[in-house]
Amino acid sequence: MKQFFKTAIAAVAMLAAPLGAASASALDSISEAGVLKVAVPQDFPPFGSVGTDMQPKGYDIDMAALIAEELGVKLELVPVTSSNRIPYLNTGKVDLVISSLGKNPDREKVIDFSDPYAPFYNGVFGPADFSVEKPADLAGMSVGVTRGAIEDLELTKIAPSDVDIKRYEDNNGTISAFLSGQVDLIATGNVTAAAIIERDPPRKPEPKFLIKNSPCYVGLNKDEPELMAKVNEIIAASIADGRLNAIAEKWLGIPLPEKL
C-alpha cells in the first residue's frame, strides 16, 4: 500500500513537472541560439537607412547592437517595413522590434512595449510654399503617410474631412511620393524630415505642425517578463552611463532629453 502511494505520487509529480517548466522563455532561446534577431527599418533615416554598401545603419541599428552586446549574443538584423514588423514579431521571425515603434492601445493588445529609448515627434512637413500651421489648414491638400504608422492613426483622427490622405505600404513609398510631388505634404517623424532635408532633396519637408510626441519603444511579444526586464535594464543602464546619449548625438544631432 505504502509502496503504491509512493509510486503514484512520483508518477503524478513526473507528469506535473512539464507543466511547471512550460515552453522555453524567449530570453532563454536567444541565449541558447546565441543570436538576437531584431527587426529594423531600412527606409527611415536616421533610425534605419542604407548607404552605398546597401548595409543598414542608424539609431535603431546601434540600439540593437547595444542590446545584443549586453546579452552576449550575435546580432541578426532583419529589415522590415511598418506594415510587417508586428506580424514578424508575432510569428517569431524576430525576437525584438526596434523600428521607431510607437505605442498605442491597439498595438498594446498584441505586443508589449519596453521603456522608451528614443525621442520622437510626429508631424506634418512640406515645402515652404504650402502655408499650413494647424490641422484645419490641410483642407484640400494631399498628405502622404505610411500605412499603419502612428502618424497615420493620429493624422486620421485630427485631419479635416476633405484632406486627401494617401497611405503607402512602407516609408520608401511615402518618401518617394513626397519627393516626386505626388503628395503635397508628408506626415512623418521630425528627425526623419530633418534627415531628408540634410541630403538636399528636390522638395524640402519643413515642419508645419507637430501631431504627437510619441517616443520610440522596443517591441516584444506578450508574456515575456524576463526578456522585458532585461531589455529595460539595458536601456536604463545605457542612459545612465551615457552610451544612449552618444547614439542620440550621432544620429539625431541632439542630446537625449531629460525625460523620455
Partner: protein, 217 residues
C-alpha cells in the same frame, strides 16, 4: 547631395540582379520538377487526381502572384516554419511556375495522338514506360518553345518578390531611389536590366518556335 554616383547606382543594381537571376533559375527548375510530377499523375487518368490538379492550376492561375507570396510569407510561420523572404519567394514562385508549366505541358502531351499510346501499349509497355520512351520525348519537342517563353514570366515575377522584402533588382531600385532622389534614372536602369535578361530569352523562344513550326501534327 546623394552619396551615389551613376556607377554606384548601376553597380548596386547589378549586384541585386544576381538575386533576380538566382531566384528565377531556382523557381524555374523546382517549378519544372513539381510541374512534371503533376503532369505524370494527371496523365495517369484517375478522375479525382485530374480534378485536384485542375483545381491546383486554377488556383494559381486565378489569383495574383502577390497574394500567393503573401500567404506563403505570413502563413508558413503559423505552422511553425520560420520563413525568410528568400524561402517564401522561392516557394511561392515555384508553386506558381509549377501550375503554369504543368498546364503548358498538358497541352503538349494531349496533342500526342492516341495512336502513339495504343501502339506502345500493344508493345506491352506500362504507363511509366509509355511516358518515358514514347510520349514525353515527343511532347518535349513541342513543349520547348512555350516553356522557354514562360521563363520570361518567371523572371518578371521575381519583381513581385520585392514587395515581401526580398532584395532583388526591383527592391534595390526602390531603396536606391530613396537614397538618391532620382527615380527616373534608377527605375530606367532597372527596366533596362530586366530587358537585358528577358529579351534574349524571348528571342530564343521565338527562334525555337520557328524551328518547330514544321513538326508534323
Amino acid at each position: 547631395m546623394s552619396e551615389f554616383s551613376l556607377w554606384d547606382i548601376v553597380y548596386n543594381l547589378l549586384l541585386a540582379a544576381r538575386w533576380t537571376v538566382l531566384l528565377s533559375l531556382t523557381a524555374f527548375v523546382l517549378g519544372g520538377l513539381v510541374g512534371l510530377l503533376l503532369l505524370m499523375v494527371r496523365t495517369a487518368g484517375n478522375p479525382w487526381v485530374i480534378r485536384l490538379v485542375r483545381g491546383y492550376v486554377e488556383l494559381f492561375q486565378g489569383t495574383p502572384l502577390l497574394m500567393q507570396l503573401f500567404i506563403v510569407f505570413f502563413g508558413l510561420p503559423l505552422i511553425g516554419l520560420d520563413v525568410s523572404p528568400w524561402v517564401a519567394a522561392t516557394l511561392g514562385l515555384t508553386l506558381f511556375t509549377s501550375a503554369f508549366l504543368t498546364e503548358i505541358w498538358r497541352g503538349c502531351v494531349e496533342s500526342i495522338g492516341k495512336g502513339q499510346w495504343e501502339a506502345s501499349a500493344s508493345l506491352g509497355m506500362n504507363f511509366t514506360q509509355q511516358m518515358r520512351y514514347i510520349v514525353l520525348p515527343q511532347a518535349l519537342r513541342i513543349a520547348i518553345p512555350p516553356t522557354v517563353g514562360f521563363s520570361v514570366q518567371v523572371v518578371k515575377g521575381t519583381a513581385v518578390a520585392s514587395i515581401i522584402g526580398f532584395v532583388e533588382l526591383t527592391k534595390a531600385g526602390t531603396m536606391i531611389t530613396n537614397a538618391t532622389y532620382e527615380p527616373f534614372t534608377v527605375y530606367g536602369c532597372v527596366a533596362v536590366m530586366y530587358f537585358l535578361i528577358c529579351y534574349p530569352l524571348s528571342l530564343f523562344a521565338r527562334h525555337l518556335e520557328g524551328k518547330f513550326r514544321h513538326v508534323a501534327r
